[in-house]
């Protein structure tokens, strides 16, 4: 392992130790709060309802008496894990999400203290869900979510009670779930040349994080902080001695349609030579070299990639021959 990496790992291990210490110190706070009533939800997620007391809660068993079907579905779902928190089922059942239900249990017509998802705004729903889910590996950048910005709330895609997919409680499986809004992308994935999303080999969420990323279009990055494309197309990643610079500077989408298209290899143009010449025309506004004078388009140069076969980058040839 290179020495620079050893140094970096050492520094970060120290950071790890410091953070661990902070984590160890936390139980004191936990012990201090243990004797207090445990609010079922975060204050922030209950706007205007911060004055709840334990007596406001009825407990999940009470909910079950009327909502048995929903209770049974919830009881089999991942959300049941909430009951492992302090207070158990009595304090982390239905009311974890729906708010205090004692008054509703006493008078079923009284829903004033309940959080009803069907009547809540997208932001309220997101806040409610993120009170637990924020900070997870998938929700680190929820603040940047374009879905949230467009008021596509968590329950637009997830159904805690009626999820068709056991994984993530999705209301539909991918890609049909995504196609229900992203209509144009459905057409692109039905093109002859496409990424195998419809076939089930990859999913929309392999390349996009629907909960938000720092990149445009909520695109993920690879573990090496590079384009997510290189997760599968490992041979194109490099680094190469001779890079085809736009691949790294502008991304694969400089030449390719990322979902699917009519042209082979999902190229943006039907003719490879025209695609190359768009940039490889010497002019005042281009850093790319122009095609040399012996590249007579009337004769032998029907496809640039016949010779420039290592078009994504080469270690041995500046002209990307080998």
């Amino acid at each position: 392992m290179p020495s620079s990496t050893v140094t970096r790992v050492s520094v970060l291990l120290i950071a790890f130790g410091v953070l661990s210490s902070l984590g160890i110190a936390q139980p004191q706070e936990k012990a201090a709060t243990a004797s207090k009533p445990v609010p079922p939800v975060q204050e922030k997620s209950l706007p205007g309802k911060t004055d709840t007391t334990p007596s406001d809660y009825a407990g999940a068993e009470a909910c079950k008496t009327c909502h048995a079907d929903i209770y049974n579905g919830w009881e089999k779902s991942p959300h049941w894990k909430q009951t492992y928190k302090e207070g158990g089922l009595a304090k982390h059942g239905c009311e974890d999400c729906h708010g205090p239900a004692a008054s509703h249990a006493a008078d079923p017509s009284d829903t004033s203290k309940l959080f009803l998802f069907e009547k809540a705004s997208a932001k309220e729903i997101d806040n409610r869900c993120l009170s637990c889910h924020a900070g997870g590996t998938q929700h680190m950048n929820a603040i940047n979510s374009e879905h949230a910005r467009n008021e596509v709330s968590c329950v637009s895609c997830h159904s805690p009670h009626h999820g068709k997919e056991s994984d993530f409680l999705l209301v539909k499986s991918q890609p049909e779930l995504c196609y229900s809004c992203h209509l144009a992308q459905k057409a692109q994935f039905d093109m002859p040349f496409h990424h195998r999303v419809n076939e089930g080999l990859i999913q929309c969420s392999d390349c996009h994080n629907p909960h938000g990323t720092v990149k445009p279009k909520q695109v993920r990055t690879s573990s090496t902080q590079d384009a997510i494309c290189f997760k599968c197309h490992t041979d194109k990643q490099g680094p190469f001695v001779f890079e085809h610079a736009p691949v790294k500077v502008d991304g694969c989408q400089s030449c390719h349609l990322t979902h699917g298209g009519p042209n082979p290899h999902m190229l943006k143009l039907s003719n490879v030579n025209l695609l190359c010449l768009q940039c490889h025309t010497t002019s005042s506004f281009s850093s790319a070299p122009g095609a040399p004078s012996f590249h007579n388009q009337a004769s032998l140069f029907q496809s640039c990639v016949l010779c420039h076969s290592q078009i994504h980058g080469s270690n041995f040839d500046a002209t990307l021959f080998k």
Partner: protein
């Protein structure tokens, strides 16, 4: 050409009838409501669908396999297993989910496994195997010309013009350029065909997922291997065999700390190892199909008689510029004896073993700790070290234009990538309605590279009466080539021959420093209207240089001697060239000036607008607009002006009806002088889902996609009818030069500020043409599906998906088929599922595939390439057992 068995109609009909008439068809319940079985502490659901697919495809099976690749045979269509601990306290796990599909020969196989014990661990496994067969024959095709005029033509020999033009006066003017080959060899396969299998494995384990400190461990493996093709520049181009072998092993470990309320800090360490062991080879044993010719040489000297020869895949023997593999490839009176002066290969090999180690560290945080303020961010550092210690390329062949008989190229190479990135986002809720969001992103990476080149150019011996490939590769040493270096075993150089040995050093650099900030205000006017407005500023600087020093050139004697090239008299000083004891001359390049690093700085400003409107509860309309301007561009097709309009409407007029409509318009422009790049990508979509009841649903939609690109390009184009054709040649044909592609409006090039092959100030300046390159494509895509349950135990579906693509572009080479510009791809389908007994369902499905290209599929003068079209159907018969 592959063949697929057909569907046997009578047995198929009997099976269908038996299934429909069976008393068993009147049993059972809805599989989706299956309760599973309780076994011990677990509730278990399981399903398996197993059956047979019969594939009957006509036409080009290579295209079909490129697109679909679903063949005949027994298949495991689906298998799922779900186990759930009834009391949430299982022995080793509380929940287990296991699903699979595609096994038995389908191109896509996927297995997912999730095992979790609620408080203790969460383990996920994803295995994916995909077969990547790729042979769309119009891609990477040399477009070899035909030999004879079509039937009905009054002329023979090389093609000059379409018959309609030949009748014009003067004949052949204007017309298509002269292409011909003798013989004509159509290329029916892509020279970049692939048949790879990729296996991707991902394992992720989270320990103590509910605790304040949780640990994550992961491992991924990506293995891609199989045969493919490789082409490179040589005397001619041949499709060498390439045995692909890529492997990536990636390890990751991470920890999440929830040290403060509503705050998470994560640290991740990634270690990735990539190795490539591709081997490219071309020899009679590895590529027997390439070596269809032999070399005649009965002299007993030089290359042995009957040595197999690969004449390559470009057959254009009488083209005006450079005939390939040569003007007369096959010796007169023979069918497979190669002309020794043709461009060709006796063998080729290329081996290199890149090894890339990529460690990455990343620290992230997310916090809602402060009231009304949330933030998140990350910092990451990554480095890659790609080392290739042992690249070696060996060419044994003949290149007519250089007179070389072969070459070897090797030397160590090394490239690094260092990446530092960070981001921070914060959102402050000023009031319940007003929110301010700021996002900053920093991304800095650099890729320095180095290659120490060691190249040897090999020339032929000089045996009398032998030429080209017949001459064996000369080995220069004192035994073979003693002074005065006139032996026939000496390498035979011409005055223009390149150096025999080149020891160089290439140094490269590419990097980018990007800083971006977005400030946005989000405001909720009321519960039905919200809007946001933002400003994006991005600054990025791209730096690059490439410096190649031929630091040492060695010229062997033989033929015209070693005093040539850089060591020719008068071209260099005596200091630079040294005469060695063996007669060779060494040229040492003077120290080069430090390379100038090219810097491109781009400032981008963009206005972001958006709104969400809910006029009624059932209708939601969202709109996002972006207007951007950049003061520079890196490539000619990078936009300086960006306009983006996205509108989506979702309407649910009834609980059983969902209607969607969307418009997406992207307009990019880099319309400065000499570039004139305009692009648009516009799509208009409509979709509807109608679910009348549980027994009937209809889903249909339509999408119109319109893509357009234009930019000024410069290129070289010249055709001269120097060849006397047809015989006797009319005076008006001989020597006519065509200076532009048919149908393309051209200007002189250099256009202002542009040139081809030489800068505008060069002498002579570039001589190419300028033209506006245009490409347009429209796609009409329609889809529909109807699900009907005529009775409780019978489910029928019919559906359709079809893409109709039409396009236009300029053709620099008139032999180019329209190809992917114009085609129809239609895929109707139908299926029937009948529950035979409790938990057992019989399923039948039929899928039709019809791909047909329209437009100019067979241009005049092109040696006919097999059509990529195909059509046919697949029928599957399966049993689904589920409980």
């Amino acid at each position: 050409m592959k063949d697929r068995p057909g569907i046997h109609v009578i047995p198929f009909a009997i099976i269908v009838a038996a299934a429909l008439l069976s008393p068993a068809a009147r049993a059972q319940g809805d599989p989706s409501e299956l309760k599973g079985i309780d076994s011990g502490d677990y509730n278990v659901h399981q399903s398996i669908e197993f059956g047979y697919r019969s594939s009957n495809i006509n036409g080009n099976l290579n295209t079909y396999d490129t697109f679909e690749n679903l063949g005949s045979g027994l298949r495991l269509f689906d298998y799922t297993l779900n186990m759930r601990s009834i009391d949430h306290n299982g022995f080793l796990f509380d929940n287990l989910s296991f699903s699979n599909f595609g096994y038995g020969g389908d191109p896509n196989n996927v297995t997912r496994l999730r095992v979790e014990k609620n408080k203790w661990y969460d383990f996920r496994l994803l295995f994916r195997r995909d077969k990547n067969f790729w042979d769309y024959n119009l891609y990477a095709n040399p477009l070899n010309p035909a030999a004879l005029n079509p039937v009905g033509s009054t002329t023979t020999g090389c093609i000059v013009s379409p018959p309609s033009v030949l009748t014009a006066t003067p004949p052949g003017v204007p017309g298509l350029p002269a292409y011909c080959s003798s013989p004509a060899v159509p290329q029916n396969n892509s020279l970049h065909a692939l048949d790879l299998v990729r296996r991707m494995q991902d394992y992720d384990l989270t320990l103590m997922p509910l605790s304040k400190i949780q640990f994550r461990l992961g491992y991924s493996r990506n293995r891609d291997q199989g045969p493919g093709s490789f082409t490179t520049d040589g005397g001619t181009i041949s499709d060498f065999n390439e045995a692909y072998s890529y492997t990536t092993n990636a390890y990751r470990a991470g920890v999440d700390f929830k040290v403060l309320p509503r705050t998470t800090i994560s640290y991740d360490q990634f270690l990735s190892y990539f190795k490539q062991d591709n081997v490219v080879s071309d020899n009679p044993a590895a590529s027997p199909g390439n070596f269809g010719f032999v070399l005649a040489n009965t002299s007993g000297l030089g290359t042995p008689n009957n040595t197999p020869v690969d004449l390559g895949n470009i057959w254009s023997t009488q083209t005006h510029a450079e005939a390939l593999p040569c003007a007369a490839p096959i010796a007169t009176g023979t069918t497979n004896t190669a002309n020794p002066t043709c461009n060709g290969f006796l063998s080729y090999s290329q081996v290199g073993r890149p090894r890339n180690f990529m460690p990455t560290e990343r620290l992230r945080f997310q916090s809602n700790y402060f009231k009304n303020f949330e933030m998140s961010g990350s910092f990451g550092y990554s480095s890659s070290d790609n080392v290739i210690p042992d690249f070696l390329e060996t060419v044994n062949g003949y290149t007519a234009r250089t007179g070389e008989r072969g070459s070897t190229t090797g030397g160590p190479a090394n490239a690094k990538r260092v990446s530092v990135n960070a981001n921070w986002s914060g959102a402050y809720a000023v009031t319940d309605k007003l929110r301010i969001l700021d996002e900053f992103r920093y991304d800095n990476w650099r890729i320095p590279g180095m290659w120490a080149l060691d190249e040897t150019n090999i020339f032929g011996t000089g045996y009398a009466g032998l030429a080209g490939l017949q001459q064996s590769e000369a080995v220069f040493n004192t035994a073979n080539c003693p002074a005065p270096y006139s032996a026939v075993t000496c390498p035979q150089h011409a005055a223009t021959s390149a150096a025999d040995e080149i020891n160089g050093l290439a140094s490269t650099f590419l990097g980018q420093n990007l800083k971006s900030n977005t400030l946005e205000l989000q405001y909720d006017f009321n519960r039905r209207v919200s809007a946001h407005i933002g400003y994006l500023y991005t600054n990025r600087t791209i730096a690059q240089f490439s410096d190649t020093n031929d630091s040492e050139l060695i010229y062997f004697p033989g033929g015209t001697g070693s005093a040539r090239g850089n060591c020719a008299t008068g071209t260099v000083t005596a200091v630079d060239c040294t005469l060695n004891a063996d007669g060779s001359m060494t040229y040492t390049a003077p120290a080069a000036a430090s390379p100038v690093r090219s810097l491109t700085t781009i400032n981008e400003n963009a206005l972001l607008l958006g709104a969400v409107v809910r006029p009624i509860d059932a209708l939601r309309i969202t709109g996002d607009l972006e207007f951007g301007y950049s003061d520079n561009s890196y490539t000619r097709i990078d936009p300086r002006q960006v306009q983006s309009y996205k509108v989506h409407a979702n309407y649910k007029p009834r609980p059983w009806a969902i209607l969607d409509g969307a418009v997406e318009i992207h307009e990019n422009r880099d319309n400065v002088t000499t570039v004139n790049n305009l692009e648009h990508d516009r799509s208009y979509s409509f979709g509807a889902l109608l679910m009348a009841n549980q027994r009937l649903s209809v889903d249909f939609g339509y999408n119109y996609w319109d893509v357009y690109t234009q930019s000024e390009i410069c290129f070289n184009y010249s055709v001269t009818y120097a060849y006397p054709n047809p015989a006797p040649p009319p005076p008006t044909l001989t020597g006519i030069a065509f200076t532009s592609p048919p149908g393309v409006a051209t200007t002189a090039c250099p256009i202002p500020g542009a040139s081809v092959g030489a800068p505008p100030t060069a002498t002579p300046p570039g001589t190419g043409l300028g033209a506006l390159s245009t490409y347009s494509s429209t796609d009409h895509f329609a889809h529909a599906a109807v699900m009907w349950k005529p009775m409780k135990r019978v489910t029928a579906m019919v559906g359709y998906g079809g893409s109709f693509v039409r396009g236009n572009t300029i053709y620099l080479n008139p032999l180019t088929p329209s190809g992917s510009l114009d085609f129809n791809y239609q895929r109707p389908y139908a299926s029937l599922a009948i529950e035979l007994y409790r938990n057992l369902t019989y399923k039948m499905s039929w899928n039709y595939y019809g791909f047909s290209q329209t437009g100019n599929t067979n241009p005049f003068g092109l040696a006919g390439i097999q059509s990529p079209d195909f059509n046919g159907s697949n029928a599957t018969f399966s049993f689904l057992y589920a409980f």
